[in-house]
Amino acid sequence: MMVLTNTLCVLPKQLRLGNILRFISTCSKKLNDGSYMATERPPLPIMTSRKIEFPNPYIAPKQAWLENLDTVNSEKLGIVDLHPDIFGVAPRIDMLHRNVKWQQLYKYINYDWEPTRAEVRGGGRKMWPQKKTGRHRAGSNRAPQWRGGGKAMAERGPYSKYYMLSEADRINGLCIALSVKYAQNDLHIVDSLEIPTDESEYLEELIDTRYWGFSALFVDDTDIMPENIALAASDIGQFNLMPVYGLNVYSILKHNTLVLTLAAVDKIEKKLLERLHSPFLHSSKKGKRPS
């Protein structure tokens, strides 16, 4: 880090590491043979450790490669330490399901509607006398047990399925989703989202050569994405960009690969740890799914 600040003393002091890396990686250049190469880069490795707040005394930090996006083949720029409470928790699948179910339901409106016996046409006449026929006592042929009758306890939409999951569960779900991605080797950390061209073929080739699967979610700490990757990903439906504040369990699980920038990792870790060590975080029965 000291070497970095010395070589880039032109930059303002307040720039964070992620921004510095972002600045560096914009300097990639197209070669004559059509490939791309990053021209300026500080001596590797850029980083081999990372400061971790609220360390876990019993689990060593998880480690991940710091990679780049400005060349098709992956270059290992360094090693990043990840907090074990966020990237190394036990994979509780029930908690993931609870989060996914909540995300599907809270925006769901049930439009199912069926008529009651009062709303079905007809049925005002007593079908046969109360007594002396030997048949059952029938007052209306639109009662629920009749064919063509109304529906008892019917769905009376539109009905909102909105409920709020407790904050403890939401935070737990995010930690578990990140841990699952890390454990399955589907979590990649890059220095920045800068790519040298806005062609979608470049992004496809990059993801194919690195075996990143069919879909990828790129997460940055800001919502103003670099122009090239925004244009390149816009043509392909399964490559998506997302700021940190939009990160959610459903999207993490939906995409094959999760690509975080270093700045995004910093922000995610800071926010989650702040909530995990907050005096106001409670799990409540209120947040559970209404049965």
């Binding site: 689990i59 036990a90 994405m225 043509d235 960009l241 702040e274 995990l276 005096p279």
Partner: protein, 189 residues
């Protein structure tokens, strides 16, 4: 949401993308210069207004963030602070810090975010009483052995202990909160 962003980018492809343009929240935001509005005198005397503006030599208002520390003192803390070091332990409230020298290597029990022991007493509806130890790391069976050894020498009756290896917790049958806490403290947790 990302899909929506991506789709919108597709629509404006080929045009110059706007970068870092702040959103205009109100229509009036551009129409008035706030300084001009604030320094406006009724009736309007330009000289008087000039004296009031912040560019003047002796401006009417001085912007200071000096007293904000008193506000910060009232705001709740975002994370639970680490307790200060005391001269004497246990403190008057009975709190004892962790002691790393006493801790065994095989397993660990981590304090909660409020720096308390993670053991919880519960009285069930059928009268059953249990004590649960959570946040266990490492060899949970060794911890169970040590705990049952502690109970053998400190409690007259045999104590049932349940170990949940996946959930990382230990359940003790009966109200042995004091004994469990003493055991954990003796191990330095």
């Amino acid at each position: 949401m990302a899909a929506t962003i991506a789709r919108n980018f597709a629509r404006i492809r080929g045009h110059v993308l706007r970068r870092n343009t702040p959103a205009m929240l109100f229509k009036h935001a551009r129409r008035y210069n706030h300084d001009e509005v604030n320094n406006y005198t009724v009736p309007y005397f330009p000289e008087e207004a000039k004296k009031r503006s912040s560019d003047a030599e002796y401006p009417d208002i001085e912007v200071s963030t000096e007293d904000f520390k008193f506000v910060e003192r009232l705001l709740p803390q975002k994370t639970v602070p680490i307790p200060d070091e005391q001269e004497l332990y246990p403190t008057p409230s009975g709190w004892v810090p962790t002691n790393e020298n006493l801790q065994p290597k095989e397993y660990g029990v981590r304090r909660t975010r409020n720096h308390m022991l993670p053991c919880y007493y519960k009285k069930h509806n059928n009268g059953r009483e249990t004590v649960k130890i959570q946040r266990i790391y490492g060899d949970i069976w060794k911890l169970k052995e040590d705990l049952s050894g502690y109970f053998a020498s400190n409690v007259e009756f045999p104590v049932d202990i349940q170990v949940h290896e996946v959930g990382r917790w230990i359940l003790v049958r009966g109200n042995y909160t004091e004994q469990v806490a003493q055991f954990l403290l003796s191990k330095g947790f």
